[in-house]
């Protein structure tokens, strides 16, 4: 059984039909890339999984259990956590406080302590700045913090929305290395990206969305060679 399964999702913003029957699967320990142009419905799909948007019809299932009636905070407790687009860290809180917020619902202080160390091992820059107010971090550091904060909830599925957005190429490489490392440590990842080239390098499979529909799906290497994908998303 798939760890995460979306079946025929229809989502509306008012009268606008944003998702027109999206279905996809994420198997345990996979990285799955969700590609597409602006407005194709990528973020809408993630926000529907994390419960911020409600579908008019269709289902989101975590190990077979429907999440579409579950309130957002319970979805996190079941192990589905989103790293939002634009990072949205708490700028007035310190780096450490941001991480602690990610672990708010957990009742095992010892495990939380361990996970802080784990995040610091993944992103040593954050350790150096643990006591600093997060609003003073650079864009790359803020992205690291947003990922670290999500990891503090011990997710089984991590939903990542445009982690490369607005970052210099060197930082994008660092972030993608970290995503691979997180995946190696056992976390399943659904990755939304405009940077299709980078995403298809680390993903096992991918889906291409166009105006609210899945128009292509397959193993990452196959999508990389697909002429349409090449033309539309890989610059030739």
């Amino acid at each position: 059984m798939a760890l995460l399964e979306l079946e025929d999702l229809h989502v509306y913003y008012g009268n606008i039909h944003a998702l027109k029957g999206v279905s996809l699967r994420v198997e345990p320990r996979e990285i799955v890339a969700l590609l597409g142009a602006n407005g194709a419905g990528k973020s809408t799909t993630l926000n529907t999984v994390s419960g911020l948007l409600r579908p008019r019809s269709g289902a989101v299932r975590l190990e077979g259990e429907d999440l579409t009636r579950v309130p957002p905070h319970n979805i996190v407790q079941r192990g589905v956590v989103q790293v939002p687009e634009g990072r949205r860290i708490f700028g007035q809180l310190t780096v450490l406080e941001n991480l602690e917020m990610g672990a708010f619902t957990r009742a095992d202080p010892h495990g939380v302590r361990e996970d802080v160390d784990r995040v610091f091992a993944l992103f040593p820059r954050l350790k150096e700045r643990a006591g600093q107010v997060a609003g003073t971090l650079s864009g790359g550091e803020q992205q690291m913090l947003a990922i670290g904060r999500a990891l503090m909830a011990r997710p089984r599925v991590l939903l990542m929305d445009e982690p490369s957005m607005g970052l210099a190429p060197l930082l994008v490489e660092q972030i993608f290395d970290a995503i691979q490392e997180i995946n190696r440590q056992g976390t399943t990842i659904l990755l939304v990206e405009q940077n299709a080239y980078m995403a298809l390098q680390i993903a096992r499979r991918g889906y291409v969305l166009q105006t609210g529909r899945v128009v292509l799906e397959g193993p990452a290497e196959q999508l990389r060679e697909n002429p349409e994908v090449k033309r539309a998303y890989l610059g030739g």
């Binding site: 994390s50 911020l52 309130p71 957002p72 905070h73 319970n74 979805i75 996190v76 407790q77 956590v81 989103q82 939002p84 949205r88 708490f90 700028g91 007035q92 809180l93 406080e97 941001n98 602690e100 917020m101 990610g102 708010f104 619902t105 904060r149 999500a150 909830a153």
Partner: protein
Amino acid sequence: MDAPLWVSGVVYGLSMGSIFFLLAAGLSFCFGLMRIISLDQLLYYSLGAYVAYQVNVATGLTWPAMLCGALAAGALSWVVERWVFDRIYAREITFTMITSFGILVAGVGAIKYVWGLVPRPMGIPVEAQVAVLGVNVPVYRILVIAITGAVYAVIQWLLNWTMVGTAIRAAVEDVDQVEGLGVDVYRLFTGTFVGAGMLSGLAGALHGPLVMVDPQMGLEVVPFVFMVVIIGGLGSLKGTLVSAFLVGQVVSLGSLVYAPLAQMAPFAAMLLILLWKPTGLYGSALLRR
């Protein structure tokens, strides 16, 4: 003007400022976190005073009566939050403001029904006076200031050194993202609202012995409390404290200079401060949302 008048004026201003702070802090948090303008806090203020008065009359006790006032105010605010605000948080801010005004007016009506229109005198816990710089001032006013200082310290501790406090600060910045991290923000809302209600009730109870307890008392402080929130800068506790004491002093010392100034001077002060700093003294980036 002679020195003794100034000393008692400053103490009077600080004790007024203390009451303003207790009221404005709750109002400021309700706006910062839930984005509501909770005029009904003034009802909890009146209720706190009336319950304290009633328990005082029935038992002769003073401090425990005030505690009862604060607790009763907290209980009523809990009922209102569960019944009313929980259903309308998502609405426009004007909607919640008008709703809260309706609750305030209805509540004042209920108070008039129960306790009548005649102002009631309330017993004072400490009648003694103490010499400050050679001037006798009532010990009770000094205690009101001290209690407010302690309340301020406790709130700061809660905000900065507990996980719930961290969550409240985070939610003032970005409530959706806090929810996205698995926090049940509606529980934070309830806790904050009841906390604000208890502070308002405490303000009323502490204020009772200094004024007459009367049905209009909540409506009378509305302009001052709003001024405090606006001058301090929305969402800043420290700003609220500074501005509460400032408004208290302007009311008190202004009336020493020229009696009608007591009503007018705070507005003039607010105008000047807003011309100089449009977001208030400690107004912050928290209002970007």
